[in-house]
Amino acid sequence: MTELVRVTIDEHEVHVPKGLGLVETALAAGLEIPVFCYEPRLGAPIGACRMCLVEIEGMPKLQTACTMTAQDGMVVKTARTSAKSAEGQNATLEFILVNHPLDCPVCDKGGECPLQDLTFRYGPGNTRMRFPKVTLEKPIPISPTISLDRERCILCYRCTRFSESVSEDGQLVARNRGAMSVIATFEDEPYTGAFTGNVTELCPVGALLPTQYRFEARPWEITTVPTVCGMCPVGCNTTVDMREGKAKRVRSRNHPEIDEGWICDKGRFGFTHLRAADRIVDPIQRVRRRGFEPVTWEAALDEAERLLRAAQGRVVVALSGSETIEQAYALAKLVRQGTGSHEAMLPEEVTSALDAYRLPLAAIADAQAVAVLGDVPLAESAPIVDLWVRKARRNGAAVVTDTAELGDAERTVLIWSGPGGRGGATVAQLAERLGLAGKDGCGAFYVPATPNGRGIADAWAAASDDEPAGTESVGLLIVSGDEAAGDANVRALAERADAVIAISMFHGLAVGWADLVIPGTSYLEREGTYVNLEGRLQRLRRTAMPPVPDELEWLAQLASRFGVQLAPYASTVFAEVSERCYGGLPFGEVGERAPLRGYEGAPAHVDPPPLPEAQTGGEGLRLVCYKPLFSGPAVERVSELQFQRPQAEVELSVADAKRHGIATGDDVTLSGAGANVTVRARVSRTLRDGVVRMPREFAGDLRGTVEVARAGVPA
């Protein structure tokens, strides 16, 4: 137990842990000390803005509450009881406002601006500044997604501290000094990376603003809807600001166990895919040999019914992994109970082997040793997990890429990101070998390929206990979602199927090869639930009015034609799944900040599926392909994110590059399995020897083991 000390603040007495910051100590007494630069998530306080000046008995000068900590017997006077402190606060606000433009009426921050709020409460009512204010070029697009207004900037250094101490990319810097100080990107390069948008939320004024939101809405016109991001398996908690039924902005909704208030740029800026030019709003049917035309929903459902019946129990469902549990269950119930077909292409392998090693993501930060395994960078597969690992390292943890280097740390966490994870079975096996089950602060994570792979597997299983018949021929393939529509294996299966129904958001993906395309919705348009990589059940809300009916509505109608009872409401559908998978938890109890409930009766040992046969590739290097963060059907449709799209590059370890005489920037040819691809090389200091890594979209038909040589030089 931490020692408790007695602190008096404005004649309130509180007992708080010794060393607690005075801002928090005041909060314990129910008092607010205003701050601008102070933000505990950014590391040690810096005391720069001087907004939190307080009087402390025994100290002649005013002190910044953010940098002072609770000591026994301390007597603190805030502006409420100390004229000196009030004068200090008033002075700080006067100085901040001396050069701050009076453009609140046209500033996007207006109405939700900490500077505005604190000025109303603590500031001077007028200005004594009668000289020209600092004027600077503005706004500066520090990237296609973020605009910087240096005149509004009050130099609290929150953004540079984020870049330095949270995302650790060092791209945002302060340039010049004194009154000439400005925030800039290093060498004026665009601010890139997975986490840049967080600075727009950290900024306490209208200096760093999301360009997408410029002049789009006012705080009093928007409805903020709490939901969960569906772009990756982390499931960051977000709020979506909605105006007139349209999503205008995505912000973090701090879930301290999952995301600590950070979200990635894909989750933040990717929402404009909702308004993609090729969004499908009417069902599309193949009418003659090569013709496609929009049809009514009634006609589409008739056609769907006809195709389902024609398949005679030989229906296969290919799922994307981005469906809600309710959508997947509704589809499963229709197909399994309505047509007696039980064959599914689930988006990925799922195992319950990990359930004995479940932890909230936040536990990574407290680990003493973290093994990041599997060769795919966490920033690409589950970005927020990357931030947790960085935080663990800053807290002193050893971060290794091989379990052999773990040592004998008390709190050990394993994370698997990449191929070979077998749905988590591999990392669960390692965890069992290390004896991590039931040990405090120890656990294992597996980064699935899709946002809701586990939930979909649960939903599919909950719809029926019957086994697939194992027939070879495919009467009807139902392709659910754009990720499945873009998958090569699904497309191959479609070639063999008698007929194909695709549920798709975008014209480019399924139109042309599916017999019937039914318009789909985005995770931002749905009510429902997801299970994230921790095994945490979370709630999605509709944050934009979809231009098309919800999947549950037409699935319920279609199901009734097959005598299958299905409610068109997420809450009722969830109840059926919950009965079998989530202990009967009601929809309304999932929670706005969902707790990690885990799965009941998780066994510490599950026989993992057999290892795939070892690759015998001789001299070559093992090719690891991955799906980059900024890829996929949604990102491809967001023009302002195109600058973040991956480069056609292959990464090599330092030793492998040296062995092959390859330097960063060289063109190299990768060959193997009868295919070859030429891309630029990048030497990586973090990649293991014997592995080459590249985004899947550039790998063509390469797989397994490859030979690498400089382009034009025979291997």
Binding site: P45, I46, G47, A48, C49, R50, M51, L53, K61, L62, T64, T67, M68, E87, G88, A91, T92, E94, F95, I96, V98, N99, R128, M129, F131, P132, V134, T135, L136, E137, I154, L155, Y157, A174, N176, R177, G178, A179, M180, S181
Partner: protein, 449 residues
């Protein structure tokens, strides 16, 4: 570059033996007893060396006048801390009017190094960093040559001395900004606490002292604490000072005398007085960071307590003579410009306040200010003082405010005159910084309402 005049009134301590000829090489320094005190110190216990410094009441010569021995005693002993302990010497002499550390480094580099080694021994530090102002190239060369020679002679023991050159920022003379810069970061001060004695360089216990302070250390051992404590103006202003006499004076130079002489004595007896026919207007005493001294305060002994009694500071030993050709407003403006330029930009009152002060002073100089502005600017100074992260903002405000309060009539005459009555005749004319660098585009004079 013209050689600086060097002089002393006995007893010379810091510059002892180096008044006529510099003691740059080891042999000549040894000839005056050099490095004998290091040997003596190493035969004592580290605690006894610190105790000696406490007894001598040697105080910091960088400006704050903090007792050196006490500061050293704050450093935890090696058995109490798992981290290395560092000694850092502040040789970033940048206070306007200060040029004593450069003379010390040029004339008695080995005495500084001997002081470093003794102080390092006292706090069990194995690594000493000397952070030297980037512009001091000759000083760096002399000091580096001395370091190499001393190391070659085996005097270092297990201590490493690293001389690090700054990149030109006044703020890096502030101890925590110096540490940031030394760590390779942007030179901006840190919030205290934690104090450097607990978390200084690389988050390890660090003792930071000025060059002149450290150079005194061998002499404290040589003379003994009791005798040293009798020098100068005991009990608090013990020992000597190397005064930096400059400005409108016949013989400017670095003069070492015991503490407690008067500014009048220094200016008129040692410095030969003002140029023919000029009258004394003010003295920038202690540096530009402190209030200015008026002629009626000239007989105040240069002793921290006596100066403190009249609201002045001994600072870094600056005595800059200002005669009647200088416009008070121009002087205040020039100093304000200096601080605006050197403000690091980290904390709000200093970053914004220093620029605002320049704008006020410029308005006075141009004759466009009003009587009300004087009250506003004094209030703005009050709002800077004591509210900043470090003392840079306080310094700017204190100095500028002292000109306004002590020379209010001359300030007022600018308003009555519709501009500066001195104009181009002021000795500061043409010495101004380009004032407003803070506009991307020219600011329109008339803002439409």
């Amino acid at each position: 570059m013209a050689e600086t005049t060097i002089g002393f009134e006995p007893p010379a301590v810091v510059l002892a033996g180096a008044i006529e000829e510099p003691l740059t090489d080891l042999a000549s320094y040894r000839a005056v007893g050099g490095y004998a005190q290091l040997e003596k110190a190493r035969a004592m216990s580290p605690q006894d060396v610190t105790e000696l410094l406490i007894q001598s009441n040697l105080r910091g010569r960088g400006g704050a006048f903090f007792p050196t021995g006490r500061k050293a005693s704050f450093i935890p002993t090696p058995d109490k801390v798992a981290k290395p302990i560092y000694l850092t010497v502040n040789a970033d002499e940048s206070e306007p009017g200060t040029f004593k550390d450069r003379e010390i480094m040029l004339r008695v580099p080995h005495r500084l190094l001997e002081g470093c080694l003794i102080a390092a021994y006292a706090i069990a530090s194995k690594h000493v960093f000397i952070y030297i102002r980037g512009e001091y190239s000759r000083e760096y060369e002399v000091l580096e040559a001395a370091r190499v020679e001393a190391a070659g002679a085996g005097l270092m023991g297990d201590v490493t001395i690293t001389i690090h050159r700054g990149a030109g920022a006044y703020i890096c003379g502030e101890e925590t900004a110096l540490l940031e810069s030394l760590e390779g970061k942007r030179g901006q001060p840190r919030s205290k606490p934690p104090f450097p004695a607990i978390q200084g360089l690389y988050a390890s216990p660090t003792l930071i002292n000025n060059v002149e302070t450290i150079t005194n250390v061998p002499k404290v051992l040589e003379l003994g604490a009791q005798e040293y404590a009798q020098l100068g103006a005991p009990p608090d202003s013990t020992g000597t000072r190397v005064w930096c006499l400059s400005g409108n004076v016949a013989r400017p130079g670095a003069y070492e005398t015991p503490h407690g002489i008067t500014a009048r004595h220094l200016i008129y007896e040692i410095g030969g007085g003002l140029p023919e026919g000029r009258e004394l207007k003010a003295v920038m005493i202690g540096g530009s960071s402190f209030p200015v001294m008026t002629p009626d305060e000239l007989d105040t002994p240069l002793d921290a307590n006596a100066l403190g009694a009249v609201g002045l500071f001994i600072g870094s030993g600056v005595v800059t003579v200002i005669d009647d050709r200088t416009c008070a407003v121009q002087f205040a403006l020039r100093v304000a410009q200096f601080y605006m330029h050197e403000s690091c930009g980290k904390c709000t009152p200093c970053r914004v306040g220093t620029r605002w002060l320049v704008q006020f002073m410029q308005a006075v100089e141009d004759g466009t200010a009003s009587e009300n502005d004087f009250d506003t600017v004094l209030d703005v100074c009050d709002r800077i003082i004591g509210k900043c992260l470090c003392v840079l903002g306080d310094s700017a405000a204190m100095h500028v405010a002292s000109w306004i309060t002590k020379f209010r009539d001359e300030f007022r005459s600018h308003l009555e005159h519709g501009g500066c009555p001195f104009g181009a005749d002021s000795s500061l004319a043409n010495l101004f910084a380009p004032v407003d660098q803070h506009h991307h585009t020219p600011v329109p004079q008339e803002v439409p309402v």
